[in-house]
Subunit: 227 residues, 2 copies
């Protein structure tokens, strides 16, 4: 890569644009998660609606990146590492778009929850959200720096998120059984927790794609207990 | 395409192999859904375990197809419709793999449910499963025949599945509130319903990819109410 840094062909620019667009999309996705959580914690349904509406922008950027990548594949016929980068970018793009969807789902549940009295103080949910946001950032850093060690760190964090999700599930189940009036709210919180767990899965898939790009090794299905 | 049917170059063979592998993967995914449902309806946990174990085979085939596609991209540098087909195949492959995961998730829940007395007769769940299996088949038929009308049919069926999922959710919520002893089982059935709804989403995404391949039009985010 080094010998290329100072060249500035149109083709190099196009590859760099894909990278930059992915970083930007990742930042948008992260922001959506943060705002969706804020809308829940601060009971701010206006902010939640902003997240739901903002998902259109994420979808549009996702389409643009797909088109950038397809154009490069068609017109530049990249080979070797450039080809690997483009096919990885297409995958990562899809995951980031789904992460945006999940953030919007969380915001939708927050709007419903904000209409009712708060069931309990949120402790694990914001922690999960914090971890998943860090996972997205790290997995994209791993892409930019072609750093598979960082990508492997993301994979380990997915386990923490899975455990938190199960813990939240069990806790809410107890609420529901002890007082059925809490059932609807508890279900909504379970769904938020599940959405965060799915965000974590997508971040893990991004990390897998980076590891494959860097090492050529397919680790997606290597870890027991993962899908 | 017609003028190619009778040629038989190595390259043509490779493209055909990708198509055939996708059809086969689709058939495996469909079979997993059918068996996961059977394991629930007939309370057969052995069959459920078979579905869970069988997911490894789906994962392996998914990796092979990815490699086939990357090899073609790297060595054949396809252009125009072949390029579109390969990039579509990569996407579809990812969705089929996720569908396999969802079927395994359903089987896992069935194993837990089979340990307890049955909560209620299943009516809508098998119906949902039947529709989603048809959606997978149709979306792959649409790919093979480059038939975007069929793909659009798949998109309409996704709505039916979403509605069934909501109906199941509301019904089970009533169960839980009226008798908290049903809570755990009701939650498991909700998760099965949600997995079927996600299978339907993946089938819809396959249909979207086919429509894009055939018409060049991006319909993914065009329909209101979809993510």
């Amino acid at each position: 890569m080094e010998e290329r840094v100072h060249t500035n062909t149109q083709y190099e620019r196009e590859l760099r644009e894909v990278k930059e667009s992915l970083i930007y999309l990742g930042a948008l996705a992260e922001q959506s998660i943060r705002e969706a959580l804020d809308s829940l914690l601060k009971r701010n349904s206006e902010l939640a609606q902003k997240v739901v509406d903002g998902d259109t922008g994420i979808d549009r950027l996702d389409e643009q990146i797909d088109e950038q990548c397809l154009r490069i594949l068609a017109l530049r016929q990249p080979t070797a590492r450039d080809l690997r980068f483009i096919t990885t970018a297409i995958k990562i793009n899809g995951h980031l778009e789904r992460i945006g969807d999940m953030a919007a789902n969380i915001a939708e549940k927050a709007i419903i929850l904000n209409r009712e009295p708060q069931l309990k103080p949120y402790i694990d949910i914001p922690r999960m959200a914090e971890i998943t946001r860090g996972m997205i950032r790290k997995s994209l850093d791993a892409l930019i720096n072609e750093d598979h060690t960082l990508a492997e760190e993301v994979k380990r964090e997915d386990e923490t998120v899975d455990n938190l999700n199960e813990q939240i599930f069990r806790e809410l189940l107890t609420f529901m059984i002890e007082d059925p009036r809490t059932t609807h709210r508890a279900l909504l919180i379970m769904q938020i927790s599940k959405s965060l767990e799915r965000i974590s899965d997508h971040a893990e898939s991004i990390a897998d794609a980076v590891i494959f790009m860097v090492t050529g090794e397919n680790v997606r299905h290597k870890y027991p207990g993962t899908n």
